[in-house]
């Protein structure tokens, strides 16, 4: 059995490309699109996969990461999906990839202008947990009524003494739309201002949004509680990197733990080139 290139039919890809173009034209705005059923469950990246399918060309080199790792179930199965349906080259190297689909991380290696980063988004609406009505949140976006977003940050400080939101940290795009950057750690927020094109796909919620290259992205905060892209105060136990986002790994049942880079490619390439201490 053979598939059309990248699984989706050409009309569907055109429809998705139109949504992407509109998203690029209005940075941070959630464009509705007719999300298709994909051969994977919702929550596994159906939105990201559709955006990737619409972007891929036969010459592309494709990379998939899940929480920074190239070798987890979600990453492996999506990579194999496009190997099989599009026949594109795949890689684990951030620098070699032209299209990178990601779940919950931005690669540590800075991206370049010829790369596309595709995010898998579970809930695209940053105001959703404060205002359950879609009609109301759309109106709030339309009229730029974003005071409620700060109520959430206020509650964080009142309860925890600091802004405790650690992932899916809301940002303001080009001084206009408030956007959910998908559940990336807030450590990655500064990297949202990037030379690469960034596309966000939410399959179940049927929304696509985008950050064109070099778009202004500001993380929301208070004057007296400025945004802080925090990370664990350790170096990576494998490669010694002090500037990368770390996963905490429990290594025994006696409370032993180690901190390692969540970006596996970054960690491995540092160890290969002997940068590790």
């Amino acid at each position: 059995m053979s598939y059309n290139f990248a699984y989706l039919d050409e009309q569907t890809k055109r429809m998705i490309r139109r949504a992407i173009l509109k998203g690029v034209a209005i940075p941070g705005y959630q464009v509705p699109f007719a999300s298709r059923e994909m051969p994977m469950p919702y929550g596994w990246g159906t939105g990201g996969v559709q955006v990737s399918a619409a972007c891929l060309t036969p010459d592309d080199v494709f990379k998939v990461i899940d929480q920074g790792a190239d070798d987890t179930t979600n990453a492996v199965s999506i990579r194999r999906f496009f190997e099989k349906t599009a026949g594109v080259a795949v890689t684990e190297k951030t620098t070699e990839a032209t299209v990178i689909q990601t779940r919950h991380r931005i690669p540590e290696t800075p991206l370049s202008a010829d790369q596309i980063l595709v995010y898998q988004v579970p809930i695209p609406e940053p105001l959703r947990f404060l205002e359950p009505r879609e009609t109301e949140t759309r109106k709030m976006h339309g009229l730029e009524e974003y005071g409620l977003m700060h109520v959430k940050l206020y509650e964080d400080i009142a309860r925890h003494g600091e802004i405790a939101t650690a992932y899916a940290y809301p940002v303001r795009v080009e001084d206009r739309y408030v956007m959910d950057p998908s559940p990336i750690p807030k450590f990655d927020n500064p990297k949202l201002e990037s030379p690469a094109l960034q596309l966000f796909g939410a399959g179940r919620e049927q929304r696509i949004y985008a950050l064109p290259p070099y778009t202004k992205v500001v993380s929301l905060d208070f004057e007296d509680y400025p945004f802080d892209p925090s990370k664990a105060a350790h170096p990576c136990a494998l490669c010694g990197a002090e500037d990368s986002y770390l996963d905490e790994v429990i290594v025994d049942d006696a409370g032993g733990r180690m901190f390692v880079c969540s970006d596996t490619d970054y960690c491995a390439s540092r160890r290969e080139t002997g940068e590790a201490a």
């Binding site: 509650e155 400080i157 009142a158």
Partner: protein
């Protein structure tokens, strides 16, 4: 003096039935207008039409805006109207659950309007919220508790603080003391009267409780079946009712 609010021939129908019809009045700055009537007389419909929660079928609601003077609220773009309802207007619901965010702390509830108009300094927001909580006699130690942990009277006072924090000029109140027991009602009324007088607020209070309007309202409008049947100074209407329905209403109050 320019009236703060001019209402002209407001009419709202629910199909063939009348919600309210032919309602006109002027409200001057610092004045408190009471609207009384039995259940179903159209007083809540009228209030919702004035506050923009419902769209009247015809009529004008002209508000004296700070920037541009008197303007018909119904002709304003939605963005301006919503801005108005966050700044110069306030709406106190009968049920505090309708007017509060029950999953947000008391401080956050009061601070929301400040943040909605651009306050971005946590310390200042908290300070102002704390001031307002003490003004409505809520212990500032309870600032980080959620309204669900508050009693009915406290919730209602919190709702009032949340509404008054941006210094509105016009307050709509829909049965502000409904569902509270009498001693709590008395305290709330006392508090409201103080706030209204001190801040020089204009207010429109809808209620079926004549004691509430006796205490708070300067003027009174009596409604029946969607129409205004009698208007006048509060004491005049209550002590010398002219319309048969008003006479019935006044004589129905139980004397203890």
């Amino acid at each position: 003096m320019t009236p703060l609010l001019q209402v002209r021939n407001i009419e709202k129908r629910y199909g063939a039935r009348i919600g309210c019809a032919d309602v006109s009045f002027d409200l001057y700055p610092g004045e408190v207008l009471g609207i009384v009537g039995e259940s179903g007389s159209g007083k809540s419909t009228l209030l919702n039409c004035l506050a923009g929660h419902q769209s009247p079928d015809q009529g004008e609601v002209i508000f004296d805006t700070r920037a541009d003077g008197p303007r018909d609220v119904r002709q304003m773009p939605e963005a301006e109207r919503r801005m108005l309802s966050r700044t110069d207007w306030a709406f106190v619901h009968q049920n505090p659950r309708d007017g509060l965010r029950m999953r947000v702390s008391a401080g956050g509830n009061v601070g929301e309007r400040l943040m909605a108009v651009g306050a971005r300094h946590y310390g200042d927001i908290r300070q102002t919220a704390g001031d307002w909580l003490s003004k409505v006699e809520i212990d500032t130690a309870r600032m980080d508790d959620r309204p669900s942990a508050f009693s009915g009277g406290m919730q209602q006072r919190l709702q009032i603080a949340r509404n008054l924090v941006t210094g509105p000029r016009l307050v709509f109140m829909d049965e502000p003391t409904g569902g509270l027991d009498v001693s709590v009602q008395a305290r709330l009324l006392d508090l409201l009267r103080g706030l209204v007088r001190r801040m020089g607020l204009s207010a429109i209070i809808v209620t079926h409780d004549l004691a509430v309007v006796r205490l708070l309202a300067d003027r009174l409008m009596v409604m029946k079946s969607g129409h205004v049947v009698e208007t006048g100074l509060t004491d005049q209407v209550l002590d010398d009712p002219q319309h048969a329905y008003t006479q019935l209403l006044v004589s129905s109050v139980l004397q203890v």
